[in-house]
């Protein structure tokens, strides 16, 4: 499977995701934000970091870069797109995903491992997980507080477009286990065709038993199947 990782000035998880993809047998290429052509890709990853120093709003400047026009075209043609952390923020700023990531409710940068519950497994990204499986993934963000309007929130819930929700280790969803104030504990969502996934947790950080657990692996193996 061919993958591309988009690199912006200020991206800082681009190498991590490349290592994860290569370890799991993707043929990966790095693509600089000024490039106007995308390599042939089955999967495009918009990685985490602080693109353009988070100027204006997180992801706002990156969403207008040359290469994002190509990503939007590819997305509309059905290419799989994964946005992680700042990548999720960028995808919302392009309009490929609805809603917006606001400043964390407690106004603090949060870097810690959290529990997330897999809500939807009937898609290309999560089919190797079990429904309601609890994963321990890392989050590291200042703007991860998912917000959207009532109509879109209803659509997300009714059409099963929520990929992950923050939970406790037993899968209970409550405000106590909502690290950043996200609406309905949302940690990751799909577009209506489910070829685009945006998520705040970093699956690429949990792919090797030496440094962590391996709860992120199945996201990548799902894509390969």
């Amino acid at each position: 499977m061919n993958s591309s990782v988009i690199v912006f000035p200020g991206s800082n998880c681009d190498r991590d995701i490349a290592v994860a993809l290569e370890k799991l047998q993707f043929r990966n290429k790095m693509v600089w934000h000024k490039d106007v052509d995308l390599p042939k890709s089955d999967l495009i990853v918009v990685p985490g970091g602080f693109s353009y120093g988070d100027y204006l709003r997180s992801g706002a400047i990156a969403a207008k870069s040359n290469i994002l026009n190509e990503v939007i075209k590819a997305a509309n043609n059905g290419c799989l797109i994964l946005g992680i952390c700042n990548g999720f923020q960028i995808l919302t700023e392009t309009g490929l995903l609805g809603g917006v990531l606001l400043r964390n409710k407690n106004l603090k940068f949060i870097s810690k491992d959290v529990y997330v519950k897999v809500i939807n497994t009937e898609n290309r990204f999560c089919n190797k997980y079990k429904k309601d499986q609890i994963l321990q993934l890392n989050i590291a963000h200042n703007e991860g507080n998912y917000f959207t309007n009532k109509e879109h929130l209803k659509e997300l819930e009714d059409k099963n477009l929520i990929a992950f929700k923050y939970s406790d280790e037993n899968g209970n969803l409550n405000e106590e286990n909502n690290p950043n104030g996200s609406l309905n504990n949302i940690a990751g969502i799909f577009n209506s065709k489910k070829n685009i996934l945006g998520m705040m947790p970093h699956p690429e950080r949990t792919i090797d038993q030496v440094t962590s657990n391996v709860d992120g692996v199945n996201l990548f193996t799902s894509l390969l199947s």
Binding site: L56, E93, F147, T148
Partner: protein
């Protein structure tokens, strides 16, 4: 021609920074304070002679980049 753009969070969007600022001002002894909302302000100079045309261009900039319409409102003023 110069314009200013005022960007504010929509009323139903939580403004944690405004909340903390309000709390701090109250701690400083300002007892009559009722609310604080934080926003953004831009000053934009544009090479146009026609005010309507210029304002339309600024509005376009707001909608395409400066403002996220899901959470923010904006107002344009000529200065």
């Amino acid at each position: 021609m110069k314009f200013s753009v005022k960007v504010t969070l929509k009323n139903d969007v939580l403004d944690p920074q405004g909340k903390v600022i309000k709390q701090t001002l109250q701690n400083m002894g300002i007892n009559t304070l009722k609310s604080v909302r934080q926003g953004k302000f831009f000053e934009i100079e544009i090479d146009e002679n026609n005010e309507v045309k210029a304002k339309n261009k600024i509005e376009d900039m707001c909608k395409k980049l400066l403002v996220n319409l899901i959470i923010e409102d904006f107002e344009i003023y000529k200065i």
